[in-house]
Amino acid sequence: MKVLVAVKRVVDYNVKVRVKADQSGVDIADVKFSMNPFDEIAIEEAVRLKEKGVATEVIAVSMGVAQCQETLRTALAMGADRAIHVQSDAELQPLAVAKLLKAICDKEQPQLVILGKQAIDDDCNQTGQMLAALAGWSQGTFASKVEISGSDISVIREVDGGLQTVALKLPAIVTTDLRLNEPRYATLPNIMKAKKKPLDAVTPEALGVDVTPRLKTLKVTEPPKRKGGIKVKTIGELVDKLKNEARVI
C-alpha cells in the first residue's frame, strides 16, 4: 500500500512574525522556515505504518517555492522513500493544493493520504477535507489514533467534548492532530542519506491544475493588544461581569 503525505513549508513556530507596514501580509524575509508540525506527525505516522509492514512506500509531496525541496528532504530524512515537489511561485490556497494533491493521487494511486489537520501559518484547516471531496474518498480528520486492517481503517478523532471513532474504507484521507504520535528526530545518517533519495519536480501546468487564487486578502493586522486582567472580589461580582460586561452567560 502506498501512502502519500502532504508536507508544507511554513515559518518556524519559534519565529514571532510581524505584520508588514503596508498590511499586505507578514514579513517572511530572512526568517527560519520548517516543516509544519502537524505534517511531521503525518510523516511519522506514515513511516510507522511502513515499519509495521502495512505501508510499502511513503511518498512526501510539497507544493510551492523552490525551498520546499528542503522541507521534502526533511521528510526523506525522517523516513519517506521519495518525494514530489510541485513547483510554483504563486500563492497556493487550500483549494489549489487539494486539486494538485488530487492530480497526484490520480497518478500515484495511494490507498491513504495523510495530511496535517492544518498548517500553522494560515491555520485554514481545509485542505484534507477538500481533497476528500474532490477524490470522493472517506475522511478521518483530527486523528489521534489510526488503525488499518485489510481495507478497513479506523480513526479516533479528537472532537469538541471528546473522542469519536469512525470506521472507513480505503482509500481514505486522514488529517493528524497533535496527540497522534511524537515525531522522531531525523538522525544524522538519515539526513545525509536523504540527499540521495529521489525527488521529482512537476509543475501545476503539467498536472493540469489552475492554481489561480480564489480568495483575496484585503489586509492583515496585528491582533489587538491584550489588556491587563482584573481581580474580582466576590462570586457575585464575577457572575455580574460575565453576564453584563462579557455577555457570555
Binding site: 519559534n14 530572512d30 526568517v31 527560519k32 520548517s34 528542503e70 528532504r73 526533511t74 530524512a77 528526530y185 531525523a186 538522525t187 544524522l188 545518517p189 538519515n190 539526513i191 545525509m192 536523504a194 540527499k195
Partner: protein
C-alpha cells in the same frame, strides 16, 4: 541576531536539519534534567546510547565504523547546540571520544580501530584521552608516564590527572614515554589502555564546575598492555596527539561563545521583565550597554569561528596563520564567555548567585574553558610563534 538567521554561505539545509535534531534532543533529553544531574555529580549512562542513536557520537567518523562523515560546520553546530544546556559537564563527558578517538583514527591499526571505534560511537563504550599529568599539562613533551616494552607487552607506570570521563572510560587513549632516554617529544607514544587493566586505579576529583562530568586521577602501577595496542609508530606519538588540536580548539571556541550567548539570553530576558524603581532594567542605559557589550563579543567570536571553519573546510589561507587564528579564536571566545557570565550574574542580581540559573553555572565553568585544550597563555604564545613574532 540571537537565533542566527539562515546563513546559506555557511550552512546547507542538511546543517539546519542537524541543528533542529540537536536542538530537540537537547531540549527534551538534557535541559530538563541538567540541574539534577549536576547536583548528583553524574548523568545516566544511557544518554550516550540516546546520542548515538541520533548519529551524534558518530559525527565525522567513517561509515565503516558506524559513523557519518561530515564537514566541520557540523562540529560547530554540535558545540553551539550543546552549549544551550548551559552545562559544560554534559558535553565534556558525552563528547570525550572527540578527543580520545582522533589519535586512533589518524594512526591506529585497523584491528584496533575495528575493536574500539564502533562500540564507542554506538554509545556502548566510553573513551577518554589521558595526556595531562600532575607534573604539568601545557608542556606535553615533558610527560613522565613510562611504557617499557617487555616481550609482547608494554609495562605502564605513572599518573594522569584531570581526565574527563576518566572514571567511566572503558578505553583510555594514553600518552606515554616509550623511550625514557629521550626527554622531549621524541620519546612519546600513544597507547590504548582498557579501563579494567589490572594495576590501574582511578580516583574521582571534585571540581569548581562540570559537576555532572566525571573527572579522574589515574594511577598506573605496572599495567601490562598488549603491544598491539600501540597507536602508530613507537616514539612518534607526539605529532599524533597534536594532530587534533585545531579542531578541538575550534570546537571549544564554539562552545565558549555558545555559553556566552546563553548568558546574554538569560540576562536579556531578566532585564526585560525585572522592574526596579518602576521601570524594566532593560530601559536603563547602563544595563542596555552591558547587553550590547555582551552581544558584540558573542558576534565577533562567532564570526571568527565561522570564518575559520570556512577556511579549514575549503583549504583557504596560510596554514600557520590559520593555526594562529584558531588560537586567537579560543582566546576571544573564552574571554567573551567570561565577560558575559560576569555581566549576566550582575544583571540577575542575587538570582545570578543562586544555583539553578544557567549564568550561575556558566560563571563557575569559565575557567576550565580558559585552561583546558590549551590555556590562554599557551594559545597566545603559540599564535605569536606561528605568526613569526
Amino acid at each position: 541576531m540571537f537565533d542566527a538567521p539562515p546563513l546559506p554561505h555557511y550552512f546547507s539545509p542538511e546543517h539546519t536539519q542537524f541543528r533542529d535534531t540537536l536542538r530537540g534532543f537537547v531540549a527534551s533529553e538534557i535541559s530538563p534534567h541538567i540541574n539534577d544531574w549536576d547536583e548528583a555529580g553524574t548523568f545516566p549512562r544511557d544518554l550516550y546510547r540516546k546520542a548515538a542513536a541520533l548519529g551524534i557520537l558518530g559525527l565525522g567518523y567513517p561509515e565503516k565504523y558506524g559513523g557519518t562523515p561530515a564537514d566541520i560546520f557540523y562540529q560547530i553546530i554540535l558545540a553551539e547546540e550543546f552549549a544551550r544546556t548551559g552545562s559544560g559537564g554534559i558535553q565534556a563527558s558525552i563528547n570525550s571520544h572527540t578527543i580520545a578517538l582522533p589519535p586512533l583514527i589518524a594512526a591506529g591499526s585497523e584491528t584496533l580501530k575495528r575493536h574500539i571505534i564502533p562500540s564507542v560511537i554506538a554509545g556502548e563504550k566510553i573513551a577518554a584521552l589521558a595526556v595531562t599529568e600532575p607534573s604539568g599539562g601545557s608542556d606535553v613533551a615533558s610527560l613522565c608516564t613510562t611504557a617499557i616494552r617487555d616481550g609482547d607487552h608494554y609495562v605502564v607506570s605513572g599518573e594522569k590527572t584531570f581526565i574527563t570521563s576518566g572514571m567511566r572510560a572503558d578505553y583510555l587513549t594514553v600518552a606515554v614515554r616509550t623511550d625514557p632516554a629521550v626527554k622531549g617529544a621524541g620519546g612519546i607514544s600513544v597507547l590504548m589502555i582498557d579501563g579494567d587493566t589490572p594495576g590501574l586505579t582511578r580516583t574521582e576529583l571534585k571540581k569548581m564546575g562540570w559537576w555532572c562530568s566525571d573527572t579522574a586521577h589515574l594511577h598506573f602501577d605496572h599495567c601490562r598492555v598488549p603491544a598491539t595496542n600501540l597507536v602508530g609508530t613507537e616514539n612518534r606519538g607526539f605529532k599524533t596527539l597534536m594532530h587534533n588540536f585545531n579542531s578541538e580548539r575550534l570546537f571549544l571556541s564554539a562552545l565558549a561563545y555558545g555559553f556566552a550567548q546563553v548568558c546574554l539570553e538569560e540576562a536579556l530576558a531578566w532585564a526585560q521583565q525585572r522592574k526596579t524603581f518602576g521601570h524594566p532594567l532593560a530601559e536603563r542605559q547602563v544595563i542596555r550597554h552591558k547587553l550590547m557589550d555582551m552581544m558584540l563579543r558573542v558576534d565577533a567570536a562567532r564570526s571568527l569561528v565561522y570564518d575559520l571553519a570556512y577556511c579549514i573546510e575549503h583549504g583557504r589561507g596560510n596554514t600557520e596563520h590559520l593555526v594562529a587564528r584558531i588560537c586567537m579564536a579560543k582566546v576571544l571566545s573564552t574571554q567573551a564567555m567570561q565577560f558575559c557570565a560576569d555581566q549576566a550574574v550582575q544583571i540577575l542580581g542575587g538570582m545570578g548567585f543562586m544555583r539553578g540559573t544557567r549564568s550561575e553555572r556558566i560563571y563557575r565553568e569559565v575557567k576550565v574553558m580558559m585552561i583546558g585544550g590549551g590555556s590562554e597563555e599557551i594559545m597566545k604564545d603559540l599564535a605569536a610563534r606561528k605568526i613569526g613574532i
